[in-house]
Symmetry: none
Subunit: 188 residues, 4 copies
DNA sequence: CATGAATGAGCGTTCATTCAT
DNA sequence: TATGAATGAACGCTCATTCAT
């Protein structure tokens, strides 16, 4: 140790640590699920537990931080798809995208329904951001007569989530059951 | 050691304990989920933990034992329903029944996908018994032209399971998303 | 197997462990106060922490167990002293005895007023047993006109306790301040 | 105060921080006791923990600094009371004042006897300043024949302290046990 | 000088599992 | 065979304290 150099170490590396933590959390969540031991994440990030707790006083905040950017991007995609595609197509494409998001997030859906109070804030986060996005797509598709108009976006969101946590389907296509569900939406 | 003899007496009390354990496990699983503490189950059964471990060296065996009879009954119902109802109706009724089974089994579906090696044997159990049952229903309904013929019974089983662990819906009716899924099965 | 020997090891050494724990707790309480780490006590007793928790699910119960027998003995002494000595003398002797008890219990009085919910049950234990004992002595001494009759036994008990946790006074005599307090009790 | 030292600039801001820390510590000590987390105090003062540690390398120094002015004032009151009241009355009044001081200092007395080396310097501080003050009162009262002359002021100080940390008695009156103790002082 | 991010030991507590009886 | 006491690893979390900036 005590190398003469090292532009390394502290400074504004609070930021560095935060990044390291987010990255580590993403990795660990994927490997061991969202309720992996706090220490495992801290170690993976190369920091002490205290540092983890400093940045994220509770689990939900960490999970939220890890997924927030992707959630935002997914929500934003709704408007874009709607602008560039016919309603039902936009809906299907968005579901595909959402499906991919969920499939990647090993353990996210488990956490959502774990009932563990540590995750209480999570559903609100997801539903709050993605619910309206999906609602806009459903409204448009219903308006154009492609699908029925009695579908609760939140329920659908959960359902697709429940169906997608399996089978990360390498090509990114939603799995057959999701497609079946989408078929069920159609007006007959 | 391993004497070839004694096909006999299972020691009445051993049998009693086993029954007590199964009953207790059912109760506790319903109350606290399938990964409730081992001791909680033993206590509920009025036996020592050691006894629990003697009869069920690992969790999956206990879970399997607990659900086996119900699984069998559910599987058996397929033939009955098929005998008494038109194919598609039989299918819907059976799904309803299965739905109720899952909704009742607090934590079963979580366990199934927990990845925990303790539960490795479970999916095979369920799929092995219920898969064929559902397959027979699907075949009949497809043969009568009511539904498409490209649905994998195992996938459908899992899907309905995934959608049903929510909302125990007091009247026993499958929730809206399951109905949507069933709608998607229809030929168009 | 069933070798005829070794009366050693386990068996009813739950009892042995319990004794070891009580002894250890007494030692550790004396050394480090009643909120010494649980592990310290377990280690001192030569058992695992789990064993400590098995026997005493919470701190107050351990503390209570450690002190109960002595508390009982102290309470019982009141009647005896009253039978063999004039009231005021009995009172003084009992206070002396109580004083010795407290002085020995390093940290007991700290615990009593720590406000820590872990010790919530303790005051009731002490006051419940010793309060009536002291009350009987005060009543007798007041009846004989030796002391005033407006002294709350519980307050006095606490006061003597507060004054006695200091200065274990090797000869077992109450310290000067306790004597002053007792003087204050006298009718004038 | 009135130290003959440092006639030089104390860096106005350093002084400000110090004041802020003292005020904050007083507040926090009152709210959470003297072993409140260091960070809580620093935050309350609006400074970083580092600053706290710079000014007060250990807890006792902080506690000492916080209470010093009040201790001084209390000590000074002895002479004033003695000048304006008969000896025994002055003594009682001073005790009342001291009693109030202690009752206000949530946790001070606990700290004093915690044995924690962090507080080693505290007793000397208190005793050093208040001991002589009380001694002067005791001497006067003893000289006038009102009280006995064999009372150790330090012991009495501790005793009153021990009895006063309870029952902050809203009207500022010493509690009954303190009054009993004072009664015990009287010549008979 | 001040800051506050970082560290990591340490605590209470739970539970799966073993094994002497 | 049944029992349940014992074990101890593991976890979440808190803070005193240091030190790079």
């Amino acid at each position: 140790m005590t190398l003469p150099t090292e532009p390394r170490k502290v400074r504004a590396d609070a930021r560095q640590n935060l990044d390291a933590l987010l990255t580590a959390a993403r990795t660990v969540f994927a490997r061991s699920g969202v309720d992996a031991p706090a220490r495992e994440i801290a170690t993976e990030a190369g920091v002490g537990v205290g540092t983890l707790y400093r940045h994220f006083p509770n689990r939900a905040e960490l999970v939220a931080a890890v997924f927030t950017s992707e959630i935002d991007a997914t929500a934003a995609a709704a408007a874009e798809l709607l602008a560039e595609h016919p309603p039902k197509e936009a809906l299907d494409l968005w579901i595909t995208r959402f499906t991919r998001f969920v499939a990647t997030k090993q353990g996210l859906s488990d956490a959502l329904r774990s009932g563990d109070p540590a995750f209480d804030a999570l559903p609100a986060l997801l539903m709050g951001k993605l619910g309206p996005a999906l609602a806009s797509l459903l409204d448009a598709a219903a308006a154009s007569g492609d699908i029925r108009d009695d579908v609760d976006p939140l329920e659908l969101l959960q359902a697709v989530g429940d169906l997608s946590h399996r089978a990360p389907s390498p090509d990114g296509t939603p799995n057959p059951m999701v497609r079946l569900l989408l078929d069920g939406l159609r007006t007959r």
